[in-house]
Amino acid sequence: MEIIQNLTEKGTFFLPSNISATLGEFDTLFYFILWLSVIFMVGLIGVSAWFLITSKRKSSDQLAEKQITHNIPLEIIWTVVPTLLVLFIFWLGFKQYMLMRSIPPNATTIYVSGKKWFWEFTYPNGKKTIGDLVVPVNTPVKLILSSTDVLHSFYLPNLRIKRDVIPNRYTVLTIEPAKIGNFRIFCTEYCGDKHSNMLATLKVMSNDDYYAFLKAVDFDDSIPLSEAGKQLYTKKGCVACHSIDGSPMVGPTWKNLYNANRVFTDGSERIADEAYLIESINYPQAHIVTGYQPVMPSYQGLLVDQEITAIIEYIKELSD
């Protein structure tokens, strides 16, 4: 597993490392607001502390030294000055926001689909990956986001950008990473039980690595089928809902699944042979085993035939 850059290293005190080519001054704006607030804060605390110390009540019936009810010039100053300050901060934020949301013309387009509890990426040449967003370095990438079930949100902390992923609608996000490496991607809109497992990895590569990745058929037949199936079990996200040791999870366990008798919600029954396994990978909603929710998204087009056979071999190996 390649090491993913830790969010608390290589960053500043408050922010993770910024690898965005366009949003360099995000950190400067962040710290500008921070130091402005700290100065005001120290000023306010200092002034009130000074008032508290100088006019501490000595005897129980001591009256206030002087009654002042208003001071128009002072009140005008502390209304106008903050207004100008915050509107100036608004202006800085607005400019960067426009930068975040505008799309450079020559961006390569990658489709991102958020499904209940994993991310699926479709590349320009039709290649699909789950959980790994592979992008070339220093080139603008337009991510077209959509969801198939509930609200999600695609968040790249190191690129300081986030966009809600709304079912039945496309929303757009542009990124331009400037550093090679693996970075974290989170889902930040609450989407159910496995909301906190809906992670993905941003893999920034050099151009030729990226093109090599695009062309590589990611199924190497040097290792035995069931071993490849075992890798696919984690890579393709099956681990999120199916256990291999019999423990109950969102989906049925794969232990002793092969040739087991499956009873479905509509009362019918069937032996879990190869045909049944292939069907329930491509059309999971067709037959729902009693006691389970119809939440499994379809993997049709996501797995090439060799990968499906590898997974079935692995399931066979699990069922003694």
């Binding site: 799309i103 039945n168 929303t171 757009v172």
Partner: protein, 120 residues
């Protein structure tokens, strides 16, 4: 605050007749095709009728202080409409993708419409 102003009957009868006439007008106006003006005219007539009911039947004409509540409610509604439509109108303004709802599973079985617009 006016206390116990008793409103003469004539106001009520006048308002009542005006409301009946305006209702007939609303229906009549909706029959003729005004094109883009169709909705604004209907809403305008409804506003006039609501104004009449409010002013005379609800006594706002004699107790103007209560208008503050009407003003508050109307301002809140206008803001609600305004900002919701700014968002909906502005969708896809910068990104070239028009963000409108699409591809949902609708229970309606769509029958083809013939030229006159009525389903055959």
């Amino acid at each position: 605050m006016a206390n116990h102003v008793v409103i003469p009957k004539i106001y009520y009868q006048g308002t009542f007749v005006a409301l009946i006439i305006l209702t007939v007008i609303t229906v009549a106006v909706s029959r003729i095709d005004l094109g883009v003006l169709h909705t604004p005219v209907a809403i305008l007539i409804a506003l006039i009728k609501a104004g009449l009911v409010g002013a005379f039947f609800m006594g706002l004409r004699w107790e103007r202080a209560n208008l503050i509540f009407v003003f508050g409610a109307v301002m809140a509604i206008v803001l609600f409409f305004l900002f919701t439509f700014i968002d909906i109108e502005g969708r896809g303004a910068i990104t070239d993708i028009v963000e409108r709802p699409y591809n949902y599973k609708s229970p309606v079985t769509v029958t083809p419409m013939d030229s006159s617009g009525a389903p055959h």
